[in-house]
Symmetry: C2
Amino acid sequence: MATVKGNMLIGQSGGPTVVINQSLVGAVLEALKHPEIEKIYGARHGMKGILEEDFVDLRQESLETLEAVAMTPASALGSARKKPSPEECARVFEILKKYNIRYYFYIGGNDSAESANIVNENAMQVGYDLRCYHIPKTIDNDLCENDHTPGFGSAAKFVACASMGDNLDSRALPGVKINVIMGRHAGFLTAATALARVYPDDGPHLIYMPERPFVIERFVEDIEKVHARLGRCIVAVSEGIADEQGQAIASKFNKEVDSHGNAQLSGSGALGDLLAGEVKARTKLTRVRADTFGYLQRSFPGITSLVDAKEARKVGMLAVKHAVAKKPNGSIAILRKPGEKYQAVFKRVPLASVAKVTRHMPDEFIAAAGNDVTDAFLAYARPLAGPLPKIGRLQAVPAAKSV
Amino acid sequence: MATVKGNMLIGQSGGPTVVINQSLVGAVLEALKHPEIEKIYGARHGMKGILEEDFVDLRQESLETLEAVAMTPASALGSARKKPSPEECARVFEILKKYNIRYYFYIGGNDSAESANIVNENAMQVGYDLRCYHIPKTIDNDLCENDHTPGFGSAAKFVACASMGDNLDSRALPGVKINVIMGRHAGFLTAATALARVYPDDGPHLIYMPERPFVIERFVEDIEKVHARLGRCIVAVSEGIADEQGQAIASKFNKEVDSHGNAQLSGSGALGDLLAGEVKARTKLTRVRADTFGYLQRSFPGITSLVDAKEARKVGMLAVKHAVAKKPNGSIAILRKPGEKYQAVFKRVPLASVAKVTRHMPDEFIAAAGNDVTDAFLAYARPLAGPLPKIGRLQAVPAAKSV
């Protein structure tokens, strides 16, 4: 396949992350180096912007603006949760042709990879010469073919910091604390709360991931046991926990779904409040509280993981490099070199291999009892989140009692 | 009054902050300089530890540990929300006498100042020579006699960062977003979300504080107006918002109260979910979400305001200095020098003057419509939170449409 001369279109899709703009800027800065790429269009709000031909001219952006945007959380072009219908796909190709777009990049998760794959298949069917790339992004860390995904490391750092603070708060004012963490089908982010532990009695003391069926009786029993031992208990629960039949506990309360058929799990405190209510009703424990970390997990500025930011930049850059180097389509996966010292390896993988399917926590990352992570998970996640704040603790030598 | 030789007791009370340990360490390091102070006891979990004679020997802590603890969020000695009964007060004095405690420091909010004041009055009644000091701490910023309080600046920085990220998230995926912020009777912390604004269309677009009666019809109407203008709307709501009769909206759902008679407002997503439900029910707006920032506001490590940390250290140090300098009791208030450049002034004020009473947002900080803050508030709060992350935004020049 010869090098195609033509225009480029890039879009961002799905839930924002704090490093998704690194990927955008990585791709744009690389594109600027290649004369094969003429216009550089950015689609506003992903598929919606493509269908409405709502494009911005990214060649007009200064280097200074691009670098400032790279450091800024949440999709700068705007995002969407729109899955194109077959009719809309037909319309997408008319538009791609009309704008002579030959380089197409879509930054997102597995739903976005699916959208990109549909675009690619349709292009191939009509013989339209298109370099079609998915650029990975998801705090859920649930893309197949990847060791981990851009966005996860920074979200992991956020939930670890949040859990660190929450553990200190709970040591000061003990009780039962339930924290609900994002992650629809994969427990990676919930598991990352375990990075908060410094001392042996630090929370989270229990971690429930969607990879194991959630049984309320066992949950309450686990909490009672920890509370009997430590006088307090911090629990991290994935928003995606589901019962033995696979029904998400949260979806029992909320029926709102997007066009990919996903129920709304975030943006509500209902699951945390339900679980706290169950603990109150089934035990004699007092001061039972719940927090839902919410959208802050994917958008909080200022505590980005540096490794994550660097890798997000690189996958954007590499997608353009591969596309220009005559490879018609793919996704840039991040793998890891075996060995003590963390080192990422980047690899082009077929677009279809990351589309739609969800990667789950491997068994060796989940403790046998199903309510905690393993050391293998901690070793896996630690370099992705990067250094965490230092925590001090008093020796607290008991004073002699006066008589 | 002559300089008393004797032991010191220090305790921490109420909700933790990220800088309350700065005050503890400031007091301890100052105490180490004064030969009048013999033993330095720390009470575990505030009033509870005093009543149980559960003290730690703070002279055993290394300088390195103390400095690490100073940088660590949440009461290192443990906290409590316990108001001593008259019988318990009698018991406190037996204990103070038994341990020859002549220097007593209690770090906390207005409830804690009240506890300290009760201890002080009882000491005076029985003629016990006690230097009794309250050291201010509260993210609510609601202590009388103070320009602001230690803990507020860092919590303000957290909610400003969180709101900044949330605004970017909402620009990417528009909708209505309601964020519930801590603050029982005073709206300062909710107001501080306004520090997040960088561009004219940035959220939060509406801010509801407990100083103004909350009317659901007006709230929904305000949201519809902003949404019609911007296609999205971010709202910051204080957990303490109350109806025209003064009943807290959140307390309608939760009857749990502490020994100061305060209802549980935090640790539940109920208020946010209720408000989101009302917006959904009363309008045609879609994608209505609520987050409750929860305990993270007072305990999140790693983004402390430097001004706040410095001032928290100083009030701890000054309380000990004043106590040793023969002033029998008081609280260390933080005032502000008039003028362009921010400068704090520290002043001893009578203990009773900060006890129990809540300071509210002054009228000049609240916009006339009651749903926003004024520029005067922003000028007041900005130096307390300190510098915030830089935000970049694409020029987003629309590309010419192809025909």
